[in-house]
């Protein structure tokens, strides 16, 4: 069969991915991958250089769809390092708890994406449902489901009181039970395992050579985890064992994600038990002293690197963000080539996900009157709406079409 070129653009294969991917197919296999990076350049680093540090924190929390905590924490750590400030222990623990909750929800979404791409819609829906529990918990801590910004330079701005701590441990019990169930499904269900085995094989040597990070590297048996290699914050007082798997294919990566979720739950439980009393925040000056800082944290998708240089002004002189997505770009190219076309969406989820934020309150303006509808009310409203309109709206829709 002749070679044919296929464009897997954002509109075609997977709406959430912002990169455009060109593949050349020989028969049913991918012969060549062309991946022009920078499909959606946002100019984040530049805009950080013209805003103040506090404004940058807000911008960076919106860097990607999913990792506000990892970005904000890395940026705050860089600022603290520059200013030479010791963060209170309680704040470090709270940062750890929120980071691990974030890992939990990201991994659940990752698994849901994997299930969706192999055509297992039922499992996808169940996993998304499980993720809701974690998001609700995060919303209670930070105030938002997706942009739960708890970090401030020098500490955190939200405390975990008794009520939230019980909420979290209850949620962990429930989610832990469900992860166990879903995990055994991913490991044992024959059709699923057959589909994941052998998809996008990445050997240990290749993973090292291409500089893979995060679960992608750990799924190939490469033990790379910043939390273990170079502990930061409260991780210094915990032992984190990287979860690795030797399969090196989509199955191996799935196993790693499931194992990491279990490990995350254990970490959160331990942090909740050890949570020290004390201050939430140390003072950080508005203008940082001259100097530079390099910070690495383990985001859900892998190692996140922040480089910050200050010239003593009100905004950074230079900020460089090296995301795990950027690091894994070439690995993606490697794992796609030689695969079936059918495996490409699956491998794209292996690599990354992006989602928009969810809003929490709506301001309704009608003439002079203005009122704010809270989140609880919005949720109740949407539930009631669907219950009320179950029968009626369908008919109305059909009539309108006529």
């Amino acid at each position: 069969m002749t070679q044919r070129q296929l464009s897997l653009k954002p509109s075609a294969p997977d709406g959430e991915n912002k990169n455009c991917l060109w593949v050349t197919m020989a028969s049913d296999r991918v012969a060549e991958v062309h991946l022009p990076a920078g499909g959606s350049h946002q100019g984040v680093e530049k805009s950080c250089e013209i805003h103040s540090y506090m404004q940058d924190l807000l911008i960076l929390e919106r860097y990607g769809g999913l990792g506000p905590q990892a970005h904000a924490m890395a940026f705050c750590q860089a600022m603290e390092e520059l200013a030479g400030i010791v963060v209170p222990q309680r704040a470090e623990y709270i940062r750890l708890i929120v980071s691990e909750l974030e890992r939990l929800q990201c991994h659940l979404l990752w698994l849901a994406g994997t299930a969706r791409e192999v055509g297992y819609d039922a499992l996808n829906m169940y996993l998304m449902n499980d993720r809701e529990l974690v998001l609700d918990c995060l919303a209670e801590i930070g105030g938002n489901r997706v942009k739960y910004s708890v970090n401030l330079p020098g500490g955190v701005r939200r405390d975990l009181d008794e009520h939230i701590r019980t909420r979290i441990s209850e949620m962990l019990d429930e989610v832990g039970r469900r992860i166990k169930k879903r995990g055994s499904l991913f490991r044992k269900e024959l059709m699923l395992v057959n589909r994941l085995r052998g998809a996008g094989v990445l050997s240990r040597d290749d993973a090292a050579a291409y500089g893979a990070v995060g679960p992608l590297a750990r799924g190939s048996g490469l033990s790379r985890d910043v939390r273990a290699d170079e502990p930061y914050g409260a991780y210094r007082r915990m032992e984190v064992a990287p979860v690795c798997d030797d399969h090196g294919d989509a199955y191996g990566r799935t196993v790693v994600h499931i194992g990491e979720m279990e490990a995350s739950a254990a970490l959160i439980r331990r942090a909740l038990a050890e949570l020290p009393e004390g201050e939430l925040r140390a003072e950080v000056p508005e203008r940082l002293p001259k100097g530079e800082a390099l910070v690495r944290v383990e985001a859900p998708r892998g190692e996140l690197v922040y480089y910050l240089r200050s010239d003593g002004g009100a905004s950074p002189e230079r900020l460089r963000v090296f995301t795990p997505r950027e690091a894994n770009l070439y690995t993606l190219q490697k794992i796609i080539s030689g695969n079936y076309l059918a495996n490409i969406p699956l491998l794209m989820t292996d690599y990354d996900f992006c989602f928009g934020a969810a809003s929490r309150a709506v301001v309704i303006k009608g003439g002079e009157e203005q009122r704010t509808v809270g989140w609880e009310q919005l949720r109740d409203f949407s539930r009631d709406y669907y219950l009320r309109h179950e029968a009626g709206a369908g008919r109305a829709g059909a009539e309108k079409e006529e």
Binding site: V118, L192, Y340, A398, E401
Partner: protein, 310 residues
Amino acid sequence: MAQVFKLLIFPGLLFLLCYSLFCAALSRKLDARMQKRRGPRWLQPVADLMKLVGKERMIPARADQGLFFMVPAVALAAVCAAYLYVPLFSPLSAHPFNGDLIVVLYLVTLPAICVFLAGWYSSSVYGSFGGVRALTQMAAYQVPLLMSLLAPALLADSWSLQGISQFYTERPLLMLLNLPAFGIAIVTSQGKLMKSPFDSPIAGAEQGSGAFSEFGGRFFAFFDLAEDCDTVVTISLIAAVFLPFYPASPLLGFLLYLLKTLFILVLFSLFHTLSVRLHSEQVFSLCWRYMVPLALIQIIVNLLVKGVIV
């Protein structure tokens, strides 16, 4: 007059269209409930159909103009014609004759070929990938599907659906012998209907909508409708072959028909909720490694049993 009524109203075109839209809604609803979703409203398939029919007509410049126009209509016509030969509420279909089983099997194969033609002649990369996949898949599921549907007929020694019904009404217990064939028919007919796990020809995840990438508006509406009708014809055919029992009263017979077909529809729904999309190699391995030998054993057993009872 009676002929025209049979052709166009009942059990012909109109009833088939209404019932297939209902079955589409029910099937979507069942899938959704099994996935913890609410699912669409009951009239959603009707609304979809109206919306699609009202849309602008577009044919890609590079596509084969005539075929682009005809293929969806042929697919729909083939399944509608097949429905006339399937018995619904009595052993007699609208036009029974000796050998109608073969004709029905032939007619229900046509939509899959139409999907291939649609993909191939729309001159789009995604379309031709989907089309080739549809054809490849056909080579896998067609043989076990035919074997499983012919096994009960072999035992009954008749190629007509009426003859099958007559045979099994006299010896109902023998139908239990065909249970494996029933299972094979349920699994492989998913391939015919291009439902999960055999939905790679139209997998949205990697190739737009596969064979249907270039089809929009009323062309797609026709394909969509053909697919819904194909589902009804397939479940009716499976009911007619594997559950050929009819009460004397037509009304009771009709109710029993609904019961039988909905039962099979629920089985379909369960099966494709619980399955993962297979790629071409895995489809072949499933069909030729497991389904075909099983169907062969079924046929051999049926032949042996026939030798004993005759």
